[in-house]
């Protein structure tokens, strides 16, 4: 008895923001390392959402993420900590962060795999003498949103070779592991069944190019690790800690499945 296969979206319009000020494609060629696991195209989660949700992301004024971006930019320019510095003291305008989101997570000088949150907290604690922000706290999500927006439209391009390779391999293993009492892997939902309905939810490929996202179901801004945690919890499993080695490895692997899709910067999801 054949299980139903994945179904590609029938239409893939661009995300046209503010009447064309920014235009983001919603599909790209599947990266070679997937070896056809997702067919020949990869898709933004945006195309799997309803018209109303889509429209909110096409208007920066209606996009609820933007208020949090503004708070992130304000924090960027605000002195905090014992050293009397703000992010701007060293990095100047936040536009200097252009391109950073597209290559995160990445291996740092010490050979560790770091997410954007690690870099931010490293600067806060070691360079500003300020307190670390909790991984999915509002100030952290404001900042990752503001920094991500600087890369809006740039293709995701995380490195998977060289020093990144062992982390990527581990992330891949996690992606295909069937967790919890429901024994479901990321791939069971987002690779085998994207395009299908699981109850009221239209399954996407689980791409990460939109993160952090604003979820209109009441969850507010949601970090990537928060999303991972929710998806694993829903298999009746114990998720890994947000910020853990496992979730950073998974972040790298999942991001690499979206290499080529544009960073959406401040996206809206159901």
């Amino acid at each position: 008895l054949p299980a139903l296969a994945e179904t590609a979206p029938t239409e893939t319009p661009d995300i046209v923001i503010d009447g064309g000020a920014v235009t983001l494609p919603t599909f790209a060629d599947a990266p070679a390392h997937l070896e056809g696991a997702l067919g020949d195209k990869i898709y933004s989660g945006w195309v799997f959402r309803d018209a109303e949700t889509r429209a909110m992301q096409e208007d920066d004024f209606a996009n609820p993420s933007m208020a949090f971006v503004d708070q992130g930019i304000e924090a960027w320019n605000t002195v905090d900590g014992t050293e009397g510095k703000s992010c701007a003291s060293c990095h100047n305008e936040i536009e200097s962060m252009k391109g950073v989101r597209a290559v995160m997570p990445k291996v740092n000088a010490a050979g560790e795999l770091w997410s954007m949150e690690n870099y931010i907290n490293d600067c806060r604690t070691n360079r500003m003498g300020a307190e670390a922000w909790k991984w999915s706290s509002q100030p952290m999500e404001n900042m990752t949103l503001a920094i991500s927006l600087q890369s809006r439209g740039m293709p995701v391009d995380v490195a998977i070779d060289g020093p990144a390779k062992p982390f990527w391999e581990k992330g891949k293993e996690i992606y295909y592991t069937r967790y919890g009492q429901l024994e479901l892997s990321c791939a069971n939902c987002h690779q085998q069944n994207y395009g299908q309905m699981i109850r009221a939810d239209h399954l996407s490929q689980g791409q990460t190019n939109g993160f952090p996202v604003f979820r209109i179901n009441g969850a507010g801004t949601v970090s990537l690790h928060e999303r991972f945690s929710g998806c694993i919890r829903d298999t009746r499993a114990e998720p890994f800690e947000q910020g853990s080695q496992e979730f950073r490895d998974l972040e790298l692997y999942v991001a690499s499945r979206g290499n080529g899709l544009p960073v959406e910067g401040a996206s809206v999801r159901h």
Binding site: L1, Q181, E183, C189, M197, R233, D234
Partner: protein
């Protein structure tokens, strides 16, 4: 005396670990010893906190909204499968369809990072099966009413 003991055993519930699989991927014997109730089965089928079968399957004559399609439509399942086969599919689908995404509803161990329901907190095996013996029998009775 001996007869009484055997009689008692036949009535007892079959624990998940003791399920007897028959030739051709069937579970011939009732898991609870009590006939299934199709009406109860319909509720278990649709209820999110119970079977939540509706997350993945469509039954055209069910009044549940938002029926999923990760799995095949179950219209006519009672004509396609015998009760013994349906019991097997619901109790442990992976035994019948290798690598299926369908959860095993009558199984208590062998999980990776099992959680306490949907709380995200760790759980110790053996877990409570997703459905108990009588609930499985009820769902099987419900599916058996789905005739082509």
């Amino acid at each position: 005396m001996a007869g009484a003991v055997i009689w008692g055993a036949a009535q007892a519930e079959v624990a998940p670990a003791d399920v007897a699989w028959g030739e051709g991927n069937v579970i011939a014997e009732s898991l609870s010893g009590t006939p299934g109730n199709a009406g109860e089965g319909a509720k278990i089928y649709a209820e999110k906190s119970l079977g939540n079968c509706v997350a993945c399957h469509v039954v055209s004559n069910s009044d549940a909204d938002f029926q999923g399609n990760v799995g095949p439509s179950l219209d006519g399942a009672g004509s396609r499968w015998t009760e013994e086969q349906l019991r097997a599919i619901v109790a442990d689908a992976k035994h019948v369809f290798p690598d299926s995404v369908m959860p095993s509803f009558y199984k208590t161990s062998g999980y990776v990072r099992p959680g306490e329901g949907f709380t995200g907190k760790p759980a110790q095996e053996p877990l409570k099966p997703l459905l108990n013996a009588q609930q499985i029998e009820d769902v099987v009775a419900y599916l058996a009413t789905q005739k082509e």
